[in-house]
């Protein structure tokens, strides 16, 4: 318990619009221990980013609303905290790296100013000391401190993402939320940025929530994985378990869509169909319209978490014994 940094229980986040209610997050549970990395994997629109914004209580409101659930940071429930105290958590205890470094930096402020801004907000330092610290942070992410006086447009994409990482780590947060930090970068830079994040994370003993749709990235840096589908976590396990024994049909489908180096196959096996419309989610198991093993039972009954191995939970009727898989899972 004392080792636990973040604990989310039964989180529901909906976007209420005139066209209907978008059920973005539906009953998410997750725990992240200090220094641990959890990978949150899912398709576009699965509710990954909304979950992350929920942790910072930055879901745009209106239309977004946290309907139900609890979020604990170091045992403290943060959903009832007044806005002032919440601000002291953002950037200090929990910080976030955004997807696109091109737009996550303010174009008219020097990068040094932007790094020292977060330091000034959370630490009692003078402008000058904060700027000195900002330079040190820049050097930490591999950019010469003298470049602190430059503007974002003078940096390349990979360097901008380093600056964003420097901002996120400047106040030594306990949890770093990285929302697809490498999606906007090219592959060679991706590897560098991931390695940098991983090194710094280990150095500062920071926990990390890594949002991605790249299972390769997950394999490289994560300790645990949560697979998200239509606002639910359908499979949750340690990294080794997931890669050795992917259990949920959706997870299997994800692996089927990646080329495998060991097997020779002519065609990849993508998951048929599309993500369901979040304003009109299917009944029962949300994956049943796309699931090859689905039965009438799946249509009517919503599956609960089933622990198939220690710390390996799956939301699927196959593992509760209610449904027989058709052939191999």
């Amino acid at each position: 318990m004392s080792n636990e940094f973040l604990n989310i229980k039964n989180l529901h986040i909906h976007y209420v619009t005139e066209e209907g209610t978008v059920k973005a997050v539906n009953g998410v549970n997750m725990e992240i221990n200090k220094g641990e990395t959890l990978g949150l994997v899912g398709e576009t629109g699965a509710g990954k980013t909304t979950t992350a914004l929920g942790i910072l209580r930055l879901v745009p409101n209106p239309p977004g609303k946290i309907i139900d659930g609890e979020i604990f940071l170091e045992g403290q429930s943060i959903l009832e905290l007044p806005e002032d105290e919440m601000r002291m958590i953002r950037g200090n205890k929990v910080s976030m790296i955004f997807q696109d470094p091109m737009t996550a930096l303010n174009p008219v402020m020097t990068v040094g100013e932007q790094i020292s801004e977060v330091i000034e907000i959370h630490e009692k330092l003078s402008n000058k000391e904060a700027f000195e610290k900002a330079k040190k942070m820049l050097e930490l992410v591999g950019i010469p401190g003298a470049r602190a006086v430059d503007y974002p447009h003078q940096f390349s994409g990979g360097m901008k993402q380093r600056v964003v990482i420097a901002i996120a780590l400047a106040c030594n947060p306990g949890l770093l939320i990285a929302d697809e930090p490498t999606t906007a970068l090219d592959v060679t830079i991706q590897a560098q940025v991931l390695e940098l994040m991983n090194n710094l994370k280990n150095e500062f003993n920071t926990a990390m929530l890594l949002i991605t749709h790249d299972l390769g990235v997950v394999a490289e840096v994560c300790d645990k994985v949560a697979i998200m589908y239509a606002g639910e976590i359908v499979e949750y396990s340690k990294i080794e378990d997931l890669f050795e024994n992917p259990s949920h049909p959706y997870t299997r489908g994800l692996f089927g869509s990646i080329p495998n180096l060991d097997e020779e196959v002519d065609r990849l096996k993508p998951i048929k169909g599309l993500m369901p419309d979040p304003t009109n989610l299917p009944s029962g198991c949300k994956f049943h319209p796309r699931c090859p093993h689905a039965t009438e039972y799946c249509k009517e009954n919503h599956p609960e978490d089933t622990e198939i191995a220690p710390e390996h939970k799956v939301k699927c009727h196959i593992y509760t014994g209610q449904v027989k898989p058709k052939g191999e899972i």
Partner: protein, 295 residues
């Protein structure tokens, strides 16, 4: 790269958005012409006392030399009371530029704040503020200014207030529009994610990013404020005699326009040149600040 080279490189590179804008503005010949003319007017206004003594030349009547055409002593001639027109124009420039700039300043501060609040918070605030601005806009601005000056009385300060208030709505609209487009940018969300307060986000992140349209509108606004001031003075509601003001000079010279063309022509040219140069500069700034024209 050695340390020294890095140092040199960074000092050379230390040019922000604004030096980039300046570089582009410099290439625009018409804008530079506008800037040159307006700079000359500003310099003349600043050193007006050195060039011509206010009390002796611009105010003191001397009927023996009334309505003289341009000559060596009075390069732009003298008016109906024997005052040097050149001296009155450069002292008038002080009034016009001052009123123009301060009136626009008032309008930007009040209109900008209202527009920023309306755009940032949206919803009820937005509706209340912008509907009030719509009501303002329904009244022609020169009529509004006349009404305000007649209510407050004629003085330079009241003139600035009147001209300033009557142009608040246009600034509120411009600022609101640019705040709306900027507040959804990811760096605003990023600023929230580091725990910045609303005031900090507005002042440090949104306003600096929305300066470009405000600067353009402000430059053009100074021109129209000078024109409004001249107009108000022309109908006797602006600067009071004997203080020199371009509009008032036109007004008093109009009675002698048949025999002494220079009494009205030169103040008119001064107004025209100022407005023209400010508009050229404003247009040039708009082009220079538009990132789509970046080369």
């Amino acid at each position: 790269m050695s340390d020294k080279a890095v140092q040199k490189n960074t000092s050379k590179k230390k040019k922000g958005q604004w030096s980039e804008v300046w570089r582009r503005l410099r290439r625009n010949k018409m804008a530079m012409l506008g800037l040159t003319i307006i700079s000359i007017f500003i310099l003349l206004a600043l050193f007006a006392d050195v060039i011509a003594d206010y009390d002796e030349v611009a105010i003191k009547m001397n009927t023996s030399i009334r309505l003289q055409g341009p000559s060596k002593d009075h390069i732009l001639g003298t008016d109906e009371l024997g005052r040097d027109i050149f001296a009155r124009i450069i002292h008038g420039a002080r009034v016009s530029l001052q009123v123009g700039i301060i009136a626009v300043g008032i309008a930007i501060i009040i209109g900008g704040t209202l527009g920023a609040i309306a755009g940032f918070y949206g919803g009820k605030f937005d509706n209340i503020i912008m509907r009030a601005m719509d009501i303002f806009l329904a009244i022609p601005s020169i009529l509004l200014a006349i009404a305000i000056v007649s209510a407050l009385g004629t003085s330079m300060l009241n003139l600035m207030i009147a001209v300033g208030i009557s142009s608040i709505p246009s600034y509120a609209r411009i600022v609101r529009a640019s705040v709306l487009s900027i507040k959804d940018q990811e760096y605003i969300e990023a600023a929230r994610a580091i725990g910045a307060k609303d005031t900090r986000i507005i002042l440090k992140h949104i306003i600096p990013n929305s300066l470009a349209p405000i600067i353009v509108q402000g430059t053009l606004g100074v021109a129209s404020a000078i024109l409004s001031t001249a107009g108000l003075s022309f109908i006797g509601l602006g600067i009071q005699k004997p203080a020199p003001e371009w509009g008032a000079m036109l007004s008093s010279g109009k009675d002698f326009i048949r025999q002494s063309w220079h009494v009205t022509t030169f103040p008119g040219i001064a107004i025209m040149l100022t407005i023209l140069s400010l508009n050229l500069l404003g247009d040039g700034l708009r082009d220079a600040l538009d990132p789509r024209l970046k080369q």
